[in-house]
């Protein structure tokens, strides 16, 4: 156990200079053994040393950004903490990162970077803190991506945010619920099939297809039949996906979708859809 507190700033500065100092540049990277020693030493300082590192972290978007080193070291710590069997260190780092997401000391760009690191190393303990940023247009996307990597507990946070979101964030959250196949969101997603925003509508259809929700079948087929262009292509694909997901449990539902697509896609340029439906019906 270390008897002296590590000098985090000095350790960070031990990272190698870029190939062309003073300019944006490629970099060669440290000797892995040297980097390992530095990362291990920072961890000996516990939460206090991690907070010290975060205090000097800047994004290239920030006025006072100096160089890549603090961000690189933080990522190195995340990779080390994420090693299998290193749960105690992983949890310490994830909790420390999550605790800084509400801090006024950090710019939004730095918070997005912290979320990116939580995407690497975060677990259940970071979900609540990430969930608070789902309503922030600037941070909704990185927060969602971190939640999707964490998975455990993510659906609850996304489900809670859905009724309060508007605009681009709405499609992001709907899509994420689809990625997670969150059956408990099915009712809200069905309402979103009529959303004024095209991206949200398509995301809802795709999400319901992934969930395999039988209650969405008629509405989705109707929407797909009416749609044109890109929306028709995407909604038709969602119907096929829904049929595939229903086929696993209830074949009659799948057959109804395939039959509908086979009989309605008569344009020669939709032959591939008709053939896909025919092939599925013959299996």
């Amino acid at each position: 156990m270390a008897t002296t507190k590590p000098n985090v700033a000095a350790l960070v500065e031990q990272m190698p200079e870029v190939d062309h100092p003073g300019k944006p540049s490629t970099f060669t990277g440290p000797d892995p053994a040297v980097a390992e020693r530095i990362f291990a030493e920072i961890f000996t300082g516990g939460r206090a040393s991690l907070l010290e590192l975060l205090a000097i972290l800047r994004s290239p978007c920030d006025e006072d950004f100096k160089n890549y080193k603090a961000g690189y070291v933080l990522h190195g710590l995340a990779l080390r903490a994420g090693r299998p069997g290193n749960e105690k260190q992983r949890r310490l780092l994830a909790e420390t990162l999550a605790s800084q997401l509400d801090s006024r000391k950090h710019s939004k760009a730095v918070k997005a970077f912290l979320m990116q690191e939580l995407q690497t190393v975060g677990g259940r303990e970071a979900v609540k803190a990430l969930g608070k940023h789902l309503l922030d247009d600037d941070l909704c996307e990185p927060a969602t991506q971190a939640l999707l990597s964490i998975r455990e507990g993510a659906a609850e946070a996304l489900r809670a945010a859905l009724p309060k979101t508007k605009g681009k964030s709405r499609a992001t959250i709907i899509q994420a619920l689809g990625v997670l196949r969150d059956a408990r969101s099915a009712a809200a997603l069905k309402k979103s099939l009529d959303d004024a925003d095209g991206d949200a509508r398509l995301a809802a259809a795709w999400a319901l297809a992934r969930i395999g929700d039988p209650g969405a079948m008629d509405a989705m087929l109707k929407l797909a039949d009416k749609a044109e262009g890109w929306e028709r292509i995407q909604l038709t694909n969602a119907c096929l996906l829904l049929a595939e997901n229903r086929a696993a449990g209830k074949k009659a539902d799948a057959a109804r979708i395939y039959t509908h697509l086979r009989d309605t896609r008569q344009d020669p340029k939709e032959r591939h859809v008709r053939e896909a439906a025919e092939k599925a019906l013959s299996q």
Binding site: V18, K23, P24, S25, T26, F27, T28, G29, P30, D31, P32, A35, F39, P60, C61, F65, N67, Y68, G71, Y72, H75, G76, L79, G82, R83, P84, A109, Q116, E117, Q119, T120, V121, E141, P142, T144, Q145, K168, A171, T172, I174, Q175, A176, V179, D199, L202, A203, W206, G229, W230, I233, Q234, N237, L240, D267, K269, R271, H272, V273, A276, K279
Partner: protein, 410 residues
């Protein structure tokens, strides 16, 4: 309401037809004839992603399919797009019913999504290498190819050459025969990975987005980062958001013939070890060597030769008939040669999979994605080639299927 039917007598029909013909100048290429191809044999096509390899990729498609270019699409053309023949949004191109095939030469973070969308729209696809940005994308492309019965061909053709070479055919037969229980083969590829050339910049501050560039559409499924010119136009290769450095950029060429010869176009390595410095979160950087071992023992080594001490762990070792006993050789001799690979053009005409189909291309690029995952986490990883997941390493497994920025998804 009554249905009104218009009946034309044969005479009226011929009179009207003659009038139409008299007023229409029909170019010779429309009629066909010696040296001309009739329109029924031409294919309407589009190029999506027009810089770098774009024209070369389209030329290949043109030659294979006798294609006519009807549309070009590039996110850098906000100042010249007319949405008739020049586009910035590939979705508008895919909506067109007169386009049957597309060549895709965007940066790789778009390859899978545009390939899938094109197949959903009924188009056949010739897609530049590397096929994908991460492993799950390749599986999704292969599923779309199967679901819609479309033709996909990756834009590298090394396997077509080796599939005609008797020595390589023999190796494939040995590997696929099941007669070789523990494969001693080691393939070492040394140098040529352009590691430094295709690594990204650090310390780069954001710059204003050029007026002609649709930056949001450029980033697409990848995180929306602040703009920097090094992220666009070839040097994009140095960023995890868009590609995987020189390793993925060069090595789908290198390993496309290898996966065919060694019968690995339906499986993936099970264990990957690397020697590299800790990875940067956004920038592809240096590595020394990579070892990828398949379940049967066959090993691929990438010897980078640009960083760290020289690779000395394993020596290259080929496969030959000497690796089989007498009885196995007799059995092998009775086995048929592999079927010839179909070119893209032949595949489109016969509606049977191309030699560089999605599954084969996916299995080749998976080698490179696994190598990059091991580089990115800095440790040995184990992969299940059937479930396509990394086993026992949650952090590494998160890189198999990356979340996408809405509205883009697999």
């Amino acid at each position: 309401m009554k249905n009104r039917t218009h009946k034309l007598s044969r005479r009226q029909f011929l009179q009207r037809s003659a009038a139409i013909v008299a007023l229409t100048v029909v170019p010779r290429h429309v009629l066909g004839g010696p040296g001309q191809t009739p329109p029924s044999e031409t294919v309407g096509a589009a190029l999506i992603g027009c810089g770098g390899r774009g024209p070369g990729t389209f030329k290949h498609l043109q030659q294979e399919l006798n294609a006519v270019m009807l549309a070009q699409c590039d996110v850098r053309w906000l100042d010249r797009a007319d949405n008739k023949t020049v586009y910035t949004d590939f979705r508008r191109v895919l909506e067109r019913k007169d386009i049957d095939a597309v060549a895709i030469a965007t940066p790789p973070h778009w390859h899978a999504l545009i390939s899938i969308a094109a197949m959903q729209a009924g188009k056949d696809v010739l897609c530049e290498k590397p096929m994908t940005r991460f492993i799950a994308e390749g599986r999704a492309v292969a599923e779309a190819e199967k679901r819609y019965g479309r033709i996909f061909q990756i834009g590298t053709f090394g396997r077509f050459g080796v599939s005609k070479n008797p020595a390589e055919i023999l190796k494939r037969k040995i590997m696929k025969s099941g007669l070789l229980k523990n494969c001693p083969g080691v393939l070492v590829h040394s140098g040529g990975f352009k590691i430094k050339q295709w690594s990204g910049l650090v310390n780069a501050r954001p710059e204003p987005v050029p007026k002609s560039l649709d930056w949001g559409m450029y980033c697409g499924p990848a995180p929306l980062r602040p703009y920097h010119p090094h992220r666009v136009g070839g040097t994009h290769r140095g960023y995890w958001d868009y590609e995987g450095g020189g390793l993925t950029d060069m090595s789908q060429h290198y390993f496309d013939p290898v996966t065919w010869t060694y019968g690995k176009d339906d499986t993936a390595p099970v264990e990957v070890e690397v020697f590299a410095p800790p990875a940067h979160p956004e920038v592809c950087g240096m590595w020394g060597w990579i070892e990828l071992r398949y379940a049967d023992g066959f090993t691929i080594v990438c010897d980078g030769r640009e960083w760290g001490p020289p690779y000395e762990r394993k020596k290259a070792r080929g496969i030959s008939l000497d690796d089989l006993d007498e009885e196995s050789r007799k059995k092998l001799a009775a086995m048929p040669d592999p079927e010839p690979l179909r070119s893209f053009g032949e595949a489109v005409r016969t509606r049977k999979p191309a030699g560089g189909n999605a599954e084969a291309a996916h299995r080749t690029v998976t080698i490179l994605h696994l190598a990059n995952i091991a580089i990115r986490v800095g440790r040995k990883i184990k992969f299940d080639p059937v479930k396509e997941v990394i086993v026992g390493d949650e952090e590494a497994n998160r890189l198999v299927n990356l979340p996408m920025r809405a509205p883009w998804h697999l």
